[in-house]
Chain length 202, copies 6
């Protein structure tokens, strides 16, 4: 009864409904490779990430995106998978990209087995208790996000000073740059994260 | 064994240790009223929020803060408690205040019984599916946060058009303004949220 | 006669009319404490500051505001009252808050017996000839105003280096944070400064 | 005795000492025209504005500046002298130019015989009670100051709609543009305003 | 002789020397596909773009990049190749990416057979005389670059109103997003454009 | 035939038509001095720069502008003419002024006999290979453009450290400040560059 009396308006439940994005683009027939990839997603994580469903309106684009993404985030690198996800979330935080914060925040929580680290990356990486390596890596990624034209040799030197090789610097830059693309793509078409992400790694 | 081989450095667990803030200010003796208030916190939510422990270095400041805060967030108003918490989180998102995002994000999740709404307020309120009332309320709060000197009669009119009274506008403004104070206070002294908040309302 | 010929349009006199703010909120009956406080204002400075009249639509809010404000600006502190007013004006300058610049600019002029100091705080504190203590104090306050999420231990250390204790740092932060609230409240409701302020301390 | 006990440090009096600017550039011999002009300044306003003393290290530069300035601010125009000074102050406010705010703030106060109008132009023109003509004029000047590359035909149309001719638009633009130069010149060399300005028109 | 007397220092000739980027990453052996692709570049445009040489330190990354890029810029689309290059340059202008402005500025000049259009895209697209379709397309791309989290349905509607289909909107977004990645990658490693670009299409 | 099939819309040729600016201000009769000056322009560079035609609606304004400009850019100085043009272009790049980028970009290319230097100044001076003198000079000019109120003694010291005298600092500041005026004037009235500039110095 008291509820009824409360002032204000109750917000609708945020259902993350079936809609994948704001554009009306029906899925194209998947290539066999992509069919297999989607099946693998279902098997491994229980669902197909909506970003893949969004690209699936054009099978060539989907394949190119998946190849590019998997090389970036999963190929051998001087950066661990978790470090790459930390960059993804810190960059997505600057761009306030809802899709990527939800999906990659879940990845940080799960890979780190530390829900708090995921929150810190999404909210303000400067508030985290980080090793110099990670602080330098994230500072570079955030500067590249916010003021890329001011990056100079001194910024690369700062990464070398904490032990990153030139190849590692490429990878830091590549991940940070990619999420500046992906954040914008997601915002441009209002991509909606799969509901499953929210509970992962809590 | 594969773990050992992984590249990179594992980040330390983010422990949200006992430290309440970065300033070394020992707690002052609490007044009876504040003793009772702290006891009530322990009883109701299981812990004393660190913001209160931070203010507790000076009992007069603590009392003034508690009185101001409780009137703002709990007194009768045309805005529900949840609406006030939604403003708190949307403002804290613009200011990237880790303490307030964690503490008040938990409040939104709990009051709304909707973890997704909490994430949306913290990440990007524009990505949420909101009633016009809530969208206007949050747009005003965010504009007041980012460009307060450009607020004009038209901005107040936009609130009136979705049904807010002049008294309601005062309350929207007061909550948004308060968190512009509180976010800065928390960042200035590196206030750390109680670990309990992270799991609430998930 | 030449006047008549002049081109352009003469701006209306800026009367700072009786209107206290843009919201139509009639004053509530004052509590005895607040009646006494208003009487004391009339006696000491000759008028009741409009910010108090604005809060007077709700006596509980008025009392909470007055208690909070008086502790902040008048209680014993390692910062002098003038130093607290200098912070108030420098912060209000960044937020371009007309009400606070007028009211607290007057306070700086009067407390310092130096009208030029008031102008410098309102226009650009970097142009003033300041002791390292005051420069560091104002730089911290302005950074907290403009980019609070980037405040880190180094910023607190900069205050310690010029002699501020941790308790002083709390007070610098508290005053700067408060005016980030108060500036926004004043802008949100278009609070108008009492005309008397303009001539004070000239 | 109470004074001694007060906490904090008393700021030095802001003397606006004899120094004209931060560069060490001795005055060059004045041409006869400039000698006469300086004498006229002394006679009419009681002092030579420091901006002229700053340019006086090079007589050719001084003459070019004076000619340009006097045409801009004093030649016949569809804008009154006061309107041109209002633009000067509103632009200088955005650029936080101490010299120009002091010198031209005095001009607005004096020409308008309204000290409050001067404060409003220096603090936040949006808080002033202005005719549509003046609001449009200042909005254009401020936009030109802050985001000149986004000015388009619609911005010029907004001036035409409140009655400005194309020639008037030139003059609004010319005054706003000039103070974007003059503000920067003053800040670049830390030009100090003559003390006399502070009291004028109060 | 007069040259000798001139004041100042002559800047060194900007040689766009052989250095491809600031990272020391030796090229990896190319796959046959990439060998053929490089040969095709030499044949068609006379040189291998440095961006490809930069990625060539890792053949898998090079292949993924080339596949992604070629689908984006060359695959059938409702946008012409020139329109895609116009987006590339307008985005690169906001990010001040030297490599991309040079390389894609050349593409606009050549495809449009209009050197002035290339300059306008690189300098300020708002100064160009554009059809509503192109103005809307570039405004969307620039907003996505500068403030992606504020893109909403209304922004997509603005594209639909000038005739873009939902699939076209995807392509506008994809090109704009890609160059937000590519600009950052180029700035992160100080990629140097091939000298040949400068003279193309003049 | 393939052309017909291509998707998209071909942008109109950017003709830099005869229109000098967006304001309809007929030229006033030129003074003899200005007639001679226009004739000298035609003789020396083959055309009258449109900025002069724009000012020619008022002969007194034209004369004041020409005198001011010629002293600034051509009078003896510790800065070479090329150095002054480099400042002009770097400043115009920050303000995205199409007219000045085209006209003064041509001047840099021609004076330096290096088209690449012109591009670098227009696109991002940080990407150029510059002597410390030029880097410091341009950094000062750009800071003065973007954040003039934060210029302090340390910024002037940085210029002195690379060999600039106080008089040189005046000249750096004067050129940078002037183009902050000129960029805004050009944008305010949509000044169009003469077509001839585009090909100069390529």
């Amino acid at each position: 009864m008291e509820k009824k009396k409360e002032a204000g308006l109750r917000p609708a439940r945020q259902d993350e409904a079936e809609r994948v994005m704001a554009l009306d683009l029906p899925p194209a027939p998947l290539s066999d490779a992509m069919k297999a990839y989607f099946a693998k997603c279902e098997e491994k994580i229980g669902f197909v990430p909506n970003v893949l469903k969004a690209y699936a309106h054009d099978s060539a684009k989907l394949e190119a995106f998946v190849a590019f993404y998997n090389d970036l985030m999963l190929a051998p690198s001087g950066l661990s998978k978790l470090e790459r996800e930390m960059i993804a979330v810190a960059v997505s935080s600057r761009n306030r990209c809802y899709y990527c914060l939800v999906a990659h925040g879940a990845a940080v929580r799960t890979l780190a087995q530390d829900p708090v680290l995921g929150e810190l990356m999404a909210m303000n990486h400067r508030a985290a208790a980080l090793e110099p390596r990670h602080r330098a890596m994230l500072d570079f990624a955030v500067k590249l996000t916010e003021a890329s034209s001011t990056i100079e040799e001194e910024d690369r030197e700062a990464l070398r000073r904490v032990g990153f090789s030139d190849r590692d610097i490429w990878d830091v830059a590549a991940v940070a740059s990619f999420f500046n693309m992906s954040n914008r793509m997601a915002s441009a078409v209002d991509m909606r994260p799969n509901r499953e992400y929210h509970g992962e790694g809590r």
